[in-house]
C-alpha cells in the first residue's frame, strides 16, 4: 500500500506483526481464519513471541474481555462491542477483523440514513434497466462480500441504524444466508463470516436493538480505563504512533503533558480531585480516552507547525477547552470552577492555568 496514505488499515500497518505471529502460531485455526483464536488474542494484547519478536499491545486493559470477544467469534455468534464513546470499540473491532480475516475494510457506517440496500445489496440501475435483474446488476455490500469470502464484517454504530434496517440483519446472522428473490437465488455464507458491531452506551434508546437481534449477539462492554497508569499508557501509545505518522519528532516532556491531560480528564470525569480532597462537578461530555488522545495530537501539531516544535501549555489549552466545554454555559462554569479550585492551586501547573485563562 502507498506510503503516503494518512492512516493505513490495521492489517497493512501491522502486516509484519501478523506475519510473525502466524509463523509462530501452533494452535488450530478455525476455517478461513488467518490466525488461531489464541494468536488473535496475542495480537490484540501484545507480548513476546517464541522467537523473541515483540508484538505491540493494541488493546490496553483486561485480557479476559478480548478473550471473550474472540471466543465469541469462534462460536458463530456475532459480537457486539458496547460502551461509552472513545473506549476503543471501533479500534478493537478493526484489529480483530484484521487479525482474523486480514481485512478490516468490510465496514458499514451506521447512520439514521443507512438503508437496507447498504446492508443487503443494491442495484446498479443503469444495468438493471438495460439488462433486467441479472447478477451483474447487483451492487454488493460489505455484508455480501463478507459472506462470500468468509470474512468478518463490521457494523459501526449499530444503534443509529433504523430498526427495520437493523432487523434485516437477523436473517443474515441466524440463517447465514442472504436471499435475492429478484434473481431467485441466495448467497450462502462461507465459514469465517461473522459480524462485529459497535454501539454506544450514551445513544441508548435511539434505536435500541430488538430482542430478536440482541439474541444474535454476545455483548462485551468495554470499560473506561481503570487506572491512570493504564490511561496514560493508551494515550502515550497512540500519540507516539500519531507523531510517527505525521513525521513529528517526539519530545521528552510529552509524557508529562500526557499525564496532566489524563489527570484533568479523570478528575472531571470522576467528579473529585486525585487527592480526593476537592469535589468537582462533571461536564456534560464523556471526556473519553479518545478525546484525550486528540487533545494531545492537536497540541503536538500546533507546536510543530506554529510553535517552536516543543510542546507548551498554550498548545494544549485550546484542545483541552474544546474537549471539555461542550455546553457553552454549564460546562464553562464547571471548568472555570475546576480551574480556580484545582489547576490554580497545583504546584507546577500555573502554565496550564494561565493558558486556559487566556482563552476563557
Amino acid at each position: 500500500m502507498a506510503q503516503n496514505i494518512l492512516r493505513q488499515a490495521a492489517e497493512a500497518q501491522f502486516a509484519q506483526e501478523i506475519e510473525e505471529i502466524k509463523k509462530q502460531d501452533k494452535h488450530t485455526r478455525p476455517e478461513n481464519w488467518l490466525l488461531s483464536p489464541h494468536a488473535v488474542v496475542t495480537y490484540l494484547m501484545g507480548g513476546k513471541l517464541g522467537n523473541g519478536f515483540d508484538v505491540s499491545p493494541k488493546y490496553i486493559g483486561n485480557r479476559r474481555l478480548m478473550e471473550i470477544a474472540v471466543a465469541t467469534l469462534t462460536t458463530d455468534r456475532a459480537l457486539l462491542l458496547y460502551g461509552l464513546p472513545g473506549t476503543a470499540k471501533s479500534w478493537v473491532s478493526e484489529h480483530i477483523s484484521a487479525a482474523i480475516s486480514g481485512d478490516s475494510g468490510l465496514v458499514i457506517q451506521g447512520t439514521a440514513g443507512t438503508g437496507e440496500d447498504s446492508v443487503r445489496y443494491g442495484w446498479n440501475y443503469a444495468q438493471l434497466l438495460s439488462a433486467g435483474p441479472v447478477p451483474e446488476a447487483i451492487v454488493e455490500t460489505p455484508v455480501m462480500r463478507g459472506m462470500k469470502e468468509g470474512k468478518i464484517v463490521r457494523v459501526e454504530e449499530l444503534t443509529r441504524i433504523g430498526s427495520d434496517v437493523q432487523d434485516s440483519l437477523i436473517t443474515i446472522l441466524s440463517e447465514k444466508m442472504l436471499p435475492i428473490p429478484e434473481l431467485n437465488t441466495k448467497v450462502m455464507a462461507v465459514r469465517g463470516f461473522n459480524m462485529i458491531a459497535t454501539a454506544n452506551n450514551r445513544d441508548k434508546g435511539v434505536n435500541d436493538l430488538s430482542s430478536a437481534l440482541k439474541r444474535r449477539f454476545n455483548t462485551v462492554i468495554l470499560p473506561v480505563p481503570e487506572t491512570i497508569e493504564e490511561e496514560v499508557e493508551i494515550v502515550q501509545q497512540r500519540v507516539a504512533s500519531f507523531s510517527k505518522s505525521i513525521d513529528l519528532p517526539v519530545e521528552k516532556p510529552i509524557l508529562e503533558e500526557i499525564n496532566r491531560i489524563v489527570t484533568v480528564f479523570r478528575e472531571l470525569r470522576n467528579g473529585v480531585s486525585t487527592d480526593g480532597k476537592t469535589k468537582l462537578k462533571s461536564p456534560s461530555g464523556t471526556l473519553s480516552t479518545a478525546e484525550a488522545i486528540s487533545v494531545m495530537n492537536s497540541g503536538l501539531s500546533l507546536a510543530y507547525h506554529f510553535g517552536d516544535a516543543s510542546l507548551k501549555a498554550d498548545d494544549l489549552a485550546s484542545g483541552l477547552i474544546g474537549a471539555i466545554i461542550k455546553d457553552p454555559v454549564q460546562d464553562k462554569i464547571v471548568f472555570q470552577e475546576y480551574m480556580e479550585t484545582v489547576l490554580k492551586q497545583r504546584d507546577g501547573w500555573k502554565d496550564i492555568y494561565r493558558a486556559c485563562r487566556e482563552i476563557i
Binding site: 483464536p37 479476559r64 478473550e67 471466543a71 465469541t72 469462534t74 462460536t75 454476545n218 455483548t219
Partner: protein, 748 residues
C-alpha cells in the same frame, strides 16, 4: 506398616475426589483426620439418614460459650468424605488435632514482633493449595487439581506431589519473611507459630499411638500445609516436651446446621470457600461441562423476570467452551461460565450476576441435623416450642403476622419476646401502623451463630421461660440507676414474665427512692403509665405497676417545682419536653387523683417567679389547654412575661415555651390568637421595637406555610368571633402595623 498422608484443601471438591480415590486404593485400617478430638464422640451421627450437610461441629466452653469454634462440613469437604468412608467401611476414625480443651485454655500470645510472620505467610499457610494454583496461573484452585493431576496413574501419587510442594513451600516461606535475619527459634515468635507447632505435635502423637496399636495402613487426612511436619516423626521425647503441662478447660461439642453463605467464613478450618454452591454442583455433577449449570442459571434469571430462552443457554455453553479452549482448560470453570453468562444473557452487564451469585454460586442450601443429636436442655426446649408452634428454625427469612387476641399467636409473641430478652434475636419486630392494636409483625431468620447465644444463656435455665425470667431478674438486680432499669419494664411485659417483672418493679422502686434526679424519674414514669393504660398485663401485675407508678409520680411532683429553677436555657427546654410527656401521660391515664395533683403542680410552676421562663411559658400554655386558665389571666401572664422591664432573653424564652410547636394553635385557636394579637397591639412603639427580635426567634421555628397562614390571619386583624369586647380600630393606624408584621413573619 504404612502411613499415608493425604494433604488437602479444606472444602475442596478436587481434594475430596482424590482423597476418596486414594482411600479406596489404600484400604486403610484406621483413618486419622485433622479435627478436634472432643468431636470424635459426635462422629457416628454423620451417617444418620437425617444428617444433611452443610453442618458444623461446634466445640465450646460450657462456662463461656462465646469461646467456641465451628468446623463446617459440606458434601464436598474432604474431611466429611473421609469420615463417611471410614464409618461405612467400619474403619475406626479419629480426630487428631490439638484438643480444644487446650486450644481454649492456652493464652496464645500475639507478640509485637509480627513482622516475623507476614500476612502473606499467613495466607499461604491457611490455603497453600490456592497459592500453588495461583503460581500456576489458575484462578480457581479446584481447576488446578484437575489440570495438574489429570494423568496420574496411582491415586496417591497426587498426594506425594502435594507433599513435595509443601515441603518446598515450608522451606522457602520463612526465609522470605524473616527480614531481621535473626534466629527464628528465639523466644519472641508469634503465638500463631507456637500454636501451629503444638498442633502438629499432637497430630504426630496420634500417628505414633496408631502405630503402637498395631494398625497396618494408616491414612491421615489433613490440611496440605501440615503434611511435611507429619512426614518424619521426630523423637517422641521432643514432642512430649512440647505438650507437657498444657492448661486445660472443659469443652463440649455438638452438631449444628450450617448454611452455604457461612461456608465462606473463616472458622475452625481456616479459610472458607467463596463459591460453595458452585463446588457443590461440581461435586455432584463432575461431568457437567456447563449445560446443567447454565440451565440452572437461566432458571434463576427467569424466576427473577429476566427473559432467557433455551437458545441463550446453548450459546452460553458454546462460548464458555470456546473460552476454556482458548485458555487451554479441559473444561469451563466458574470464571468462563460467568463470563459467558454475562456476554450472552446479560448484554455484557455484570450487575445482573448478583442474583446468580447469591442463589447459585454461593447458594441457599442449609443443613439439617438428626433429631436426638445431643443438645443442651435450653436448645431442646426451644426446638420443642418451635415445633409446637409450627415455626421452622431455619436460616431463611420469613414474616410472621400475629394477632394477639388469638391465644396461639399470643404465645408465639411471648416466645419471641423472651428470646429477644435473651439476646437470641431470631425474630425482629417490625413497626406496625397504629398504636395499641393487637397486631404484631415479626421477621424471622435463624443464623447459625445464634446457637452460640443460646448456649451462652443455657446456664440460666432449662426452658426459655425459666432462662428468660432468671436472666431478667439478674439483669434487674445489677442495675444501679433508675434509667438503666426503666427499659427493662418494656421488655418484661410482652415477654409475660410475672415473677421477673416483680423483681424489676421492686428494684425500680428501690432506685426511685434514692434518685433525686427529676428528669430520670419522669423518664421512668412515662413508660409505666403506658403499661398501666395499655399493657397486656394481669390484674395483680397491674396493681403493683400502678403502685410504683403512683409512688414515682408523687416523687416527681414533690421535686419538680424546685427542679424548674436555677437551670440554663438548654436544660429548661429538655425539662419542658419531659414535662410535656408526663402531661400527656397524665391525660391518658384519666385518674382524677393524679390529674388534680398534677394541675396543682403546674400552677405552682406557673406562678413561681423563680421558674425558668421557658418552662413557665409552657406551663401557662398547658394550663390554658386544659381550660384551667381564663383568657384574662392568660393575657395578663403574657403581658407580664413580655413586659419590657424583663430581661429580653427571658421574655423570648417564655414566648418560645408558650408557642413552641404551636403554630397551628396560633392559626386555629381564636382565643390564643386574640391574646397574642391584643398583647401586640397594646405595645407602644418603643416596646414593640424591643420585642421584635424576640418574636422573630420564636417565629423562625415555624414553617413557611405556617408563617404565611399566620400572616394571612394578621391581615384580617382580630378573630372577631371569640371576644365579646370590641376595640376601636383606627384602620389607618392598623395598616401601619402590617408592613412590620410582614417583616416580622419573614414574608418580605
Amino acid at each position: 506398616m504404612s502411613v499415608h498422608l493425604l494433604g488437602i484443601r479444606h472444602h475442596g471438591p478436587g481434594s475430596s475426589r482424590h482423597v476418596l480415590n486414594a482411600l479406596s486404593e489404600i484400604q486403610p485400617d484406621v483413618v486419622l483426620i485433622e479435627g478436634p478430638p472432643e468431636g470424635e464422640a459426635m462422629l457416628s451421627w454423620a451417617t444418620h439418614a437425617d444428617m444433611q450437610p452443610p453442618v458444623a461441629l461446634l466445640g465450646y466452653v460450657p462456662d463461656n460459650p462465646q469461646q467456641a469454634v465451628f468446623y463446617p462440613f459440606t458434601l464436598h469437604s474432604p474431611e466429611w468424605n473421609a469420615i463417611l468412608y471410614a464409618l461405612r467401611n467400619q474403619v475406626p476414625v479419629r480426630f487428631i488435632d490439638m484438643p480444644l480443651a487446650h486450644g481454649f485454655a492456652i493464652e496464645w500470645q500475639e507478640t509485637a514482633s509480627n513482622i516475623d510472620t507476614s500476612e502473606f505467610t499467613e495466607q499461604v499457610r491457611k490455603n497453600p493449595i490456592s497459592y500453588l494454583a495461583e503460581i500456576a496461573e489458575f484462578d480457581d484452585p479446584e481447576e488446578w487439581w484437575e489440570h495438574r493431576f489429570e494423568i496420574v496413574q496411582q491415586p496417591y501419587e497426587v498426594f506425594e506431589a502435594i507433599a513435595e510442594s509443601m515441603t518446598a513451600l515450608r522451606q522457602a516461606l520463612p526465609e522470605r519473611n524473616d527480614r531481621r535475619g535473626g534466629d527464628r527459634r528465639g523466644s519472641d515468635r508469634r503465638g500463631s507459630d507456637r500454636r501451629e507447632e503444638i498442633r502438629e505435635a499432637f497430630m504426630r502423637k496420634s500417628i505414633r499411638i496408631a502405630q503402637k496399636e498395631g494398625f497396618e495402613r494408616i491414612a491421615v487426612v489433613c490440611g496440605a500445609w501440615h503434611v511435611p511436619a507429619l512426614m518424619h516423626l521426630p523423637k517422641q521425647k521432643e514432642d512430649d516436651l512440647l505438650l507437657k503441662n498444657l492448661p486445660k478447660t472443659k469443652v463440649e461439642s455438638t452438631w449444628i446446621p450450617w448454611t452455604n453463605d457461612r461456608m465462606a467464613f473463616e472458622s475452625g478450618y481456616g479459610a472458607g470457600v467463596e463459591s460453595p454452591g458452585w463446588y457443590m454442583h461440581h461435586w455432584q455433577h463432575p461431568d457437567d461441562h456447563g449445560t446443567l449449570w447454565l440451565s440452572h442459571t437461566a432458571h434463576v434469571f427467569r424466576a427473577n423476570h429476566v427473559d432467557i430462552s433455551s437458545a441463550h443457554i446453548i450459546e452460553a455453553v458454546r462460548l464458555a467452551g470456546a473460552l476454556a479452549g482458548l485458555r487451554g482448560l479441559s473444561r469451563p470453570g466458574l470464571k468462563e461460565l460467568n463470563e459467558a453468562t454475562v456476554a450472552v444473557m446479560c448484554m455484557g452487564e455484570p450487575l445482573l450476576m448478583k442474583v446468580i451469585y447469591r442463589e447459585l454460586i454461593v447458594g441457599k442450601a442449609f443443613g439439617q441435623i438428626p433429631e436426638g443429636t445431643p443438645q443442651v436442655p435450653l436448645q431442646r426446649n426451644l426446638e420443642a416450642l418451635a415445633k409446637r408452634f409450627r415455626i421452622k428454625i431455619i436460616p431463611e427469612q420469613k414474616t410472621l403476622k400475629l394477632d394477639l387476641r388469638e391465644e396461639n399467636d399470643l404465645q408465639k409473641s411471648i416466645l419471641l419476646h423472651r428470646l429477644q430478652l435473651l439476646d437470641i434475636n431470631w425474630g425482629t419486630m417490625e413497626a406496625v401502623s397504629g398504636k395499641g392494636t393487637f397486631k404484631e409483625e415479626w421477621t424471622l431468620r435463624w443464623y447459625p451463630e445464634l446457637t452460640i447465644n443460646l448456649l451462652e444463656k443455657a446456664p440460666w435455665g432449662n426452658t426459655v421461660d425459666e432462662a428468660a425470667a432468671k436472666y431478667l431478674e439478674n439483669k434487674a438486680k445489677k442495675c444501679a440507676r433508675l434509667d438503666e432499669i426503666t427499659p427493662l419494664v418494656q421488655t418484661a411485659i410482652p415477654a409475660d414474665l410475672p415473677t421477673a417483672l416483680g423483681a424489676v418493679m421492686r428494684k425500680m422502686d428501690e432506685l426511685a427512692a434514692t434518685t433525686s434526679d427529676i428528669s430520670m424519674l419522669m423518664d421512668a414514669f412515662t413508660p409505666l403509665a403506658q403499661v398501666s393504660r395499655y399493657g397486656n398485663v394481669r390484674r395483680t401485675d397491674r396493681e403493683s405497676i400502678d403502685l410504683i407508678m403512683t409512688t414515682i409520680f408523687y416523687r416527681i411532683i414533690a421535686g419538680l417545682p424546685a427542679g424548674c429553677t436555677g437551670i440554663d436555657d438548654e436544660q429548661a427546654a429538655e425539662m419542658t419536653q419531659k414535662i410535656r410527656e408526663v402531661n400527656q401521660a397524665i391525660q391518658m391515664l384519666e385518674k382524677q387523683e393524679l390529674t388534680e395533683a398534677w394541675t396543682t403542680t403546674l400552677r405552682t410552676i406557673f406562678h413561681s417567679d423563680r421558674t425558668a421562663p421557658f418552662i413557665q411559658g409552657y406551663s401557662c400554655k398547658a394550663l390554658y389547654d386544659s381550660r384551667l386558665l381564663e383568657m384574662d389571666s392568660t393575657f395578663n401572664a403574657f403581658a407580664k412575661a413580655l413586659s419590657p422591664n424583663n430581661e429580653p432573653s427571658a421574655s423570648a424564652n417564655w414566648l418560645e415555651g408558650f408557642l413552641n410547636d404551636a403554630a397551628t394553635v396560633l392559626i386555629l385557636d381564636d382565643v390564643i390568637w386574640d391574646v397574642v394579637n391584643d398583647w401586640l397591639q397594646s405595645l407602644d412603639d418603643a416596646t414593640f421595637l424591643q420585642v421584635v427580635p424576640l418574636l422573630r426567634r420564636t417565629f423562625a421555628n415555624f414553617s413557611n406555610v405556617e408563617k404565611r397562614k399566620i400572616a394571612g390571619r394578621a391581615r384580617q386583624g382580630k378573630s372577631g368571633t371569640s371576644s365579646p369586647q370590641t376595640i376601636d380600630i383606627d384602620p389607618q393606624r392598623a395598616a401601619q402595623v402590617l408592613p412590620i408584621l410582614e417583616l416580622l413573619m419573614g414574608i418580605k
